[in-house]
């Protein structure tokens, strides 16, 4: 008896080798499909598609001013996504980068909030380091829950993100609220030495972008060249073989989550010590969730992620543009992100499978 008697539908047949062409084509194909789908949606809600295309897809690249903003957004997305991808490759699904990002921002802010008058070159590097540690600490709760208590890391890390938002709110409405801030939920503005130095004069792009690229190279070296990186990957692809070879699952989980938390925390710190300059509610516009999409769209490969982070950053800036000039709701960016990931997941199926039309009668009984 046939499991699914539909001869009109093609069957997915496993390729003997993963297709390189499909690997390279999947992201641009997914982007094209997502653009078409979303333009259809904009027409449906009565927006001018030409205006949206211009504002969303072209404008971010047309002037140096707006492209520098794209670069500014690339930094945090790149950092978080590189950290997450290492875990995803090991099949450790840390989806709580948003919370780790927030904790990173909070930890980093502790220095300027408690020592608002401190000066010196040590301040911003210590903030970045402290933020990274904060993110890793927050992620270590998930690691402990997963390794010691056998709890699902997806649910725990996500719940911790929701808690992190409340921790941030508590600090901003309570002990860390700027006393001269007209009761707004935000901290004091940070002093000059608490800000990451500007990298490109005349823009807001700061040194943390360099850090993101450096860590991308480190991620590539870690995955391709190091034995630990190799062990992590084997653990993800063939857990039984890995266990047999003596690669402890627990260590892989700890390592994945600590790396992911460290990178997300660093990104959060760079955000408050960079373009924002204070701790406030809107420190993250969903970077932690968007970075999951960036990681997948980049094929979980360090180089691919550099490109996908740029695309996602352009989408953020383009979405902001379209909000102003084409009256597009903010939520449109989230819709775009979700449909982009879906389109990519479909396109990526062709890396491992090809379509084949065949009659059910020809199918050998399994």
């Amino acid at each position: 008896m046939n499991a699914f008697p539909v001869s009109i539908l093609p069957a997915l047949v496993r390729r003997e080798h993963a297709s390189l062409a499909a690997t390279l084509l999947a992201p641009p194909a997914a982007l094209a499909v997502a653009i078409l789908f979303n333009l259809g949606l904009y027409v449906l809600i009565g927006r001018d598609p030409a205006a949206v295309v211009y504002a969303m897809l072209l404008e971010p690249f047309l002037s140096w001013a707006s492209f520098s903003e794209v670069l500014l957004k690339t930094g945090p997305l790149l950092l978080v996504a590189q950290g997450l991808a290492i875990g995803f490759r090991a099949k450790v699904f840390n989806i709580g980068a948003e919370g780790q990002f927030i904790l990173g921002a909070i930890f980093a802010s502790a220095i300027p909030v408690w020592f608002p008058l401190a000066t010196g070159l040590w301040i911003w590097p210590s903030m970045l380091l402290l933020g990274a540690i904060g993110g890793a600490l927050w992620a270590s709760i998930t690691a402990f829950w997963r390794v010691r208590l056998n709890a699902n890391e997806i649910l725990v890390s996500l719940m911790l993100s929701l808690v992190a938002v409340q921790v941030l709110n508590y600090l901003l409405l309570g002990p860390w609220k700027d006393p001269n801030g007209f009761n707004f939920p935000q901290s004091v503005m940070f002093q000059y030495d608490a800000m990451v130095p500007i990298l490109i004069p005349g823009t807001r792009v700061n040194v943390s972008l360099l850090l993101a690229f450096a860590l991308s190279i480190a991620a590539w070296a870690f995955i391709q060249k190091s034995f630990t990186g190799y062990k992590l990957q084997v653990g993800g692809r063939a857990p039984r073989a890995a266990a047999y070879a003596g690669f402890a699952e627990g260590r892989a989980i700890w390592l994945s989550l600590l790396i992911g938390g460290f990178a997300a925390g660093l990104a959060g710190a760079a955000e408050v010590a960079g373009p924002i300059g204070q701790l406030q509610r809107s420190i993250s516009t969903g970077y932690g969730y968007a970075a999951i999409i960036v990681a997948y769209l980049g094929g979980l490969h360090p180089l691919g992620i550099v490109f996908s982070a740029l695309i996602m950053a352009a989408l953020y800036i383009g979405g902001d543009n379209a909000m102003v000039s084409a009256n597009l709701p903010v939520a449109a960016v989230r819709v775009f992100q979700g449909s982009l990931l879906l389109a990519y997941l479909i396109a990526a199926a062709f890396v491992r499978y090809r379509l084949e039309w065949r009659r059910p009668a020809h199918r050998s009984p399994s």
Partner: protein, 303 residues
């Protein structure tokens, strides 16, 4: 009304969004499919129901649209994971983001608007009992959710359909060899789960707190997924877990109302903290998790 009476009377209504979504996720997971998009499916159902009720379509039509809309969205999940064998975790997240985005997009012009909820129906005599009487005064959706709980429990305990679902989730290769349509069963399970998430969102938006606010689902879809784990994939325990969460969210409200000297943010994060703690306690019983867990959960089926 004292705090105990308040919690008892409101517990079932507060539990209903959790319960409906968890029951749907339970059926989907029992077929071996992990759908992490529940939060987005609930948000999408919620906005559809709200729009229809707001424009005078009535609650019945609102729930119908929510169920159908979220089922359609979960069908997209099914096509990507079952048809194209994509990673279920990533696909679920994508559906979640998409659902929340669509919810915010459609709900934008309805922000802060209100609709009328549903009247409470009191069971005669039982509702007159002191203290616990409030438990027997509930709206029709609560009563229907209790009936659905019983029906799903009975389906798994007594019917062939329940048996087929369990076979497909436990050992899809063997189920396929016997002749059960694995993909079709999973498709049906996922779609059912989507419809239930839609109902859950509808209940949250047009009955429980009949006011539209972006992000109103507030993690309840994720807690619903956690509840399936808490209940170790057993209908009765999932019901108890949903009641616990209904009570926790009410306690947080009651504590805020009595002016307890605790930061409101701590009370808001109480459901999440309880989820994390209970998840740790239940999951640490590895033997029980292995015994009751779904063997093929999350794995694509190839034959």
């Amino acid at each position: 009304m004292n705090a105990v009476e308040f919690v008892l009377a409101g517990m079932l209504a507060a539990a209903t969004p959790f319960l409906l979504a968890s029951l749907g996720e339970l059926v989907a997971e029992r077929t071996g499919v992990l759908n992490l998009g529940v939060e987005g499916l609930m948000a999408f159902g919620a906005v559809l129901a709200f729009i229809i009720v707001y424009h005078g379509g009535g609650h019945f039509l609102g729930f119908l649209a929510a169920g159908a809309g979220s089922a359609a969205l979960s069908l997209v999940f099914a096509i990507v994971t079952l048809g194209f064998r994509a990673n279920q975790v990533a696909t679920g997240l994508a559906i979640g983001i998409l659902g929340q985005g669509l919810s915010a997009l459609f709900g934008k012009t309805y922000e802060s608007l209100t609709v009328r909820g549903l009247p409470k129906l009191a069971l005669p005599w039982l509702s007159d009992i002191p203290v616990v009487g409030g438990l027997f005064t509930q709206d029709v959706v609560v009563w229907l959710s209790l009936a659905a709980t019983l029906a799903i429990w009975a389906m798994f305990a007594y019917t062939k359909a329940g048996l087929v679902i369990r076979a497909v989730g436990e050992n899809p290769k063997a189920a396929h060899a016997i002749g059960y349509p694995v993909i079709a069963v999973r498709l049906a399970g996922v779609t059912f789960g989507g419809a239930m998430a839609g109902f859950a969102g509808a209940y949250a938006a047009v009955v429980y707190t009949p006011l539209w606010a972006d992000g109103m689902i507030a993690g309840r879809g994720w807690i619903a997924i956690a509840l399936v784990v808490f209940g170790t994939w057993l209908t009765g325990r999932i019901f108890l877990g949903a009641c616990l969460f209904g009570a926790v969210s009410l306690l947080a409200l009651a504590a805020q109302a009595t002016g307890l000297d605790v930061p409101s943010q701590l009370l808001s994060s109480l459901p999440y903290l309880v989820t994390i703690i209970v998840l740790g306690i239940i999951s640490s019983d590895r033997r029980m998790m292995q015994l009751n867990g779904i063997a093929s959960l999350g794995d694509p089926f190839e034959h």
